[in-house]
């Protein structure tokens, strides 16, 4: 960490502020919950994209980290992270070559949900000195990627197991929100089917912050990869997974216009807050202004509806709690770590914009 004295008052807007005390509390609480549930924690770095916090998560007891793109994993490996899970179908020559290079320097695992993906991996790693671990991705109701049945999982696990350069590593899912129980039932049946055919699952991986506090049933999930818990956001509050006091990341913005008694305009629009509401009403909320509603965003303007008695005026600086913090972080080259009103450090968002 480099020295960066100063206070929040000196930061130009819009800017992301990260409350370091809350981050440390969120990291510790999630680790305790995972330990109590007997589940390994493998945090997803998509939320923060910072090697600094990835290291903190590992120091707190995480077995490793989760990345979604090879580019993110490369950044984390460069920073010294050593155990990385990439729950994604890696497809195409460029990515397969990079994956092989990455596998030579960290403990790596990926997922696959099709023969086509497994064939690409098998060909790439056929002559490797270091095998690649591959888990089968399962669609347990989320409706995204994943094999559709235990039989499909078995067929794919066999194909992985038969490839000289690959090792079958288990099952992975991203459950539909609120459907963790159904996902576990699906996974337990598939795990048992595979075990009956001589393919035990070393790892069964699930994810999603909203469901992370419930005690996993059936003992099937061995690893959990939540992301958002480190910062939390308005969506997590709506889901009952966090309180406002848990939320560590806010966007500092300035009121630049008060054209009518009931309207204010912020210098934070979709380029600072994203258009991603995860289905919530409003585009985030103004902390300490419960009657104010962020009703519309254009790229550089946030439109706020106020009660006529609001005292907000041009030049006021406000903090916005985003609906979905992960894509917001991806818009910023740097974030400000703060403790109260003191700026502790300014960190580049090293894995921002790693699209491939």
């Amino acid at each position: 960490m480099t020295a960066s004295p100063g206070t929040v008052d000196e930061i130009d807007t819009p800017a992301v502020l990260i409350d370091l005390d809350r981050v440390e509390r969120n990291i510790a609480r999630a680790q305790q919950a995972a330990d109590a549930a007997g589940v390994r924690l493998r945090p997803h770095i998509k939320t923060h994209k910072l090697p600094f916090f990835a290291q903190k998560q590992v120091e707190a007891g995480a077995v490793g980290i989760t990345c979604q793109k090879i580019g993110e994993a490369e950044v984390m490996a460069d920073a010294g992270l050593t155990d990385i899970f990439l729950p994604y179908n890696i497809v195409g020559r460029q990515k397969l070559d990079r994956l092989r290079a990455l596998n030579d320097r960290v403990i790596l695992a990926v997922t696959a949900d099709s023969t086509a993906t497994v064939e690409g991996l098998a060909g790439t790693f056929a002559d490797t000195a270091r095998q690649l671990k591959v888990l089968v991705e399962c669609d347990t109701g989320g409706g995204r990627c994943g094999v559709q049945s235990g039989d499909e999982a078995l067929a794919l696990a066999r194909r992985i197991d038969a490839a000289p350069g690959l090792v079958f590593g288990g099952l992975m899912t991203f459950p539909a929100p609120g459907k963790a129980v159904e996902a576990e039932t699906w996974l337990a049946a598939a795990r048992d089917l595979l075990a009956a055919h001589g393919l035990p699952c070393e790892t069964v991986s699930s994810g999603g912050t909203p469901d992370m506090w419930r005690k996993p049933a059936q003992g099937v999930v061995t690893e959990y990869r939540p992301g958002t818990y480190i910062y939390m956001d308005r969506y997590q509050i709506a889901k009952g997974a966090a309180t406002l006091e848990d939320c560590a990341a806010t966007v500092l913005a300035t009121v630049v216009s008060r054209p009518t008694p009931t309207r204010a305009i912020l210098d934070a629009g979709s380029k600072a807050l994203t258009a991603d509401t995860l289905g919530l009403a409003d585009y985030g909320e103004l902390i300490g202004e419960p009657e104010a509603r962020i009703v519309a965003l254009s790229e550089e303007h946030g439109k706020v509806e106020l009660l006529p008695e609001s005292k907000l005026k041009v030049g006021d600086r406000v903090r916005v709690l985003p609906d979905h913090i992960c894509p917001v972080i991806n818009l910023y080259d740097q974030v400000y770590l703060v403790s109260g009103d003191r700026v502790v450090d300014i960190l580049p968002v090293a894995a921002r914009g790693r699209l491939s």
Copy 2:
């Protein structure tokens, strides 16, 4: 431009491809339309964020460029652009200091819609050797920033005119979509009111690509600042302002999963396409796959619904036409300029992420 041989086939995904031939056609057509209408063209660079294209727009006949943030204007000034309009309320010490420095090196104009904003500008430029031009922003129905009446415009213009460091430059609006006529009526009345009080408007500035092809009525608008016309997008097609053949920017993506006969997953999610649909159904469209629908995005996955007979398979590379291209461009560190399947150049998106 640096040499960068290669073809589209060699580009890893997701990536933004810019069809250079279409860009040049779009630039020429907009300039011709502006010339024919007797309106000065001042393109908004928010869409491309590239000095290279800003220069091309000026070479084609634009009187200058429009930027929305000081950081964007600084990038453009560094690249040699000399005439910049910043239609924004510049508020706060940090920004005002930067604005003064910028005004020393380019022909600059800004907007204001409140006494508070004008006071900040007046104080900053009180002792300047080089006055700052300030236009009054008018809310002609768009419901964002802007004074609410001609009387308010007059009062603010007088305050600007009375400040030693400022010059009153005219009126500016961002009209509500499809309400260009109403905006012009509003502006004509305000212009006449100000002229009657000895404050003629050198410039009356309007914007928005969808309405740029209609002939301005009443001769009130003297400058137009469209942005999206250089690339066009699915929204502009929906508004009748473009055809698919005008659209110059697409996102190259790879099919990474075909979990069911009617579902494909792309490696382009909201981090590659944004969640910003501008109200359209679907998150962009697959070019050449009219039956396919991009029905949902998570950060790294695009979910496509297909007809069962679709031949799309894992590994196929597709081009996605985004709904709203401007925020998409802001997600990418670089774009690929192409002519047919040949990569002509790779350009850094120099003004990406300039939030303040």
